[in-house]
């Protein structure tokens, strides 16, 4: 890196101060983060996803996700002319190492990243017998892993298959929308790692959030709308064959 010593003397302390403020405290303690000012969601743009699997790998690194289980994963759909309502779907190891090369340029293929939808009317928090999973005041569905019994009722209740029981901790686990990052002003690990901008964090309470703006000016869909879960993972360009 070609920085002069002079630049270094100025830049390093500035960067250090910036970094410290990033690392600062919990949502209640941090003066910069107020839960009531946020209502988090996600935008996933199917037209931009290239199935590289960066998001799946980044999530695993950021959150210590055990092998064989997925807080996020990518599916590849192949909709053939003969059977447009029954697609062929694959997700090799959740798409973690990408996908095999697909043949047939005239065929209809696309990638669909999946994750916890952080539902506003979530069926999973409804069924927890003790109150170990809940939606935070800022719209993130979380699991209190020191309170969870590991009964797996929430896993059964999720229509999207985004929950699992952690094999070592024996409690429910799932995407936390990188709560430890978004409360510090960072974006989620999957959004940070996505090279094409197919995944973008959205703050539905922030009128100036460009993603919020996108949601208002484009046709977006949610998965399984008939379940009326109040899903906050919005998809752009979602095909009707997606399950």
């Amino acid at each position: 890196m070609k920085i002069s010593r002079r630049q270094m003397l100025i830049l390093l302390p500035a960067a250090a101060v910036a970094w410290e403020s990033v690392l600062a405290g919990t949502p209640e303690e941090s003066p910069n983060y107020k839960m009531s000012e946020h209502w988090w969601g996600m935008l996933i743009d199917i037209s931009k996803c290239i199935g590289c699997g960066n998001c799946v790998r980044a999530c695993q690194i950021e959150n210590d996700v055990p092998d064989g289980y997925f807080r996020t994963w990518v599916e590849r759909y192949h909709v053939s002319d003969e059977n447009m309502t029954r697609p062929e779907v694959i997700s090799p190891d959740g798409g973690k190492e990408g996908f095999p090369v697909a043949q047939g340029d005239e065929e209809k293929y696309f990638f669909v990243p999946k994750m916890c939808n952080h539902c506003a009317d979530s069926p999973c928090t409804q069924v927890c017998p003790v109150g170990a999973t809940f939606i935070s005041p800022d719209g993130v569905v979380l699991v209190d892993q020191s309170y969870c019994l590991g009964c797996a009722y929430c896993v059964q209740a999720c229509p999207y298959g985004c929950r699992y029981i952690h094999p070592q901790k024996e409690v429910a686990d799932k995407c936390t929308l990188c709560y430890h990052r978004i409360t510090k002003g960072l974006t989620t690990a999957c959004c940070e790692a996505c090279p094409t901008g197919a995944r973008q964090l959205a703050d539905l309470k922030d009128p100036k959030d460009p993603i919020h703006e996108f949601l208002k000016t484009h046709s977006v869909q949610v998965l399984k709308p008939q379940m009326a879960t109040g899903s906050k993972a919005f998809y752009n360009d979602l095909d009707g064959s997606v399950r």
């Binding site: 890196m1 070609k2 920085i3 830049l11 390093l12 500035a14 960067a15 910036a18 970094w19 990033v22 690392l23 405290g25 919990t26 949502p27 209640e28 839960m35 037209s47 931009k48 996803c49 290239i50 199935g51 590289c52 699997g53 960066n54 980044a58 690194i61 950021e62 590849r76 192949h78 990408g98 996908f99 090369v101 697909a102 043949q103 047939g104 293929y109 696309f110 990638f111 109150g131 809940f134 939606i135 935070s136 005041p137 979380l142 209190d144 020191s146 309170y147 709560y179 430890h180 990052r181 510090k184 960072l186 974006t187 690990a189 940070e192 790692a193 996505c194 090279p195 094409t196 901008g197």
Partner: protein, 162 residues
């Protein structure tokens, strides 16, 4: 009164219930975590615990604070929107202590191929090639500079500390 005498055993049974209930109330007072119910039917303190997890990815703004020359090279190129750690991996530890924690350079043969290997499944407008046919075995960086990979960009070194 004789009814009560003859029903004495029932009062004892009920008494057991009342006693058990009182014990339960006392135990409950001590056992239920203090922050439970603060925001809803859950332990309010758990949100702070979840948020206190250390980060692994620094986020591109942390990188850009120091590596301004790379920012310059990237900003008009095709990878302008590709974040640093999308290729360089999780580097919060490096941002925390730049001099002692050194990131390793990614292997372009694997890295570039992940996104740019041609597949019918990828969006049509996305730049993709068949790696074996494209470069005759030459490494990607022979012709493309990763921070500004367009062929018209100068093939100076990519920048960053080696």
């Amino acid at each position: 009164m004789s009814t009560f005498k003859d029903a004495g055993h029932l009062f004892r049974f009920a008494g057991l219930f009342v006693l058990a209930f009182l014990v339960f109330l006392v135990v409950r007072h001590f056992v239920v975590p203090k922050s439970f119910g603060q925001y809803g039917h859950y332990r309010g303190a758990s949100m702070g615990e979840i948020a206190a997890r250390p980060v692994q990815f620094a986020g591109h703004e942390a990188c850009e604070a120091c590596h301004t020359d790379v920012v310059e090279k990237k900003k008009n190129g095709k990878h302008a929107q590709v974040n640093c750690e999308a290729c360089h991996g999780a580097l919060a530890k490096h941002a925390d202590d730049p001099s002692t924690v050194k990131p390793t350079l990614p292997d372009t043969a694997v890295l570039c191929a992940r996104c740019h290997t041609a597949s019918a499944a990828k969006p049509k407008g996305f730049p993709q090639v068949v790696p074996a046919e494209h470069s005759n075995g030459l490494p990607c960086e022979s012709c493309h500079q990763p921070h500004s990979p367009g062929m018209d960009a100068p093939k100076a070194d990519a920048g960053g500390t080696k």
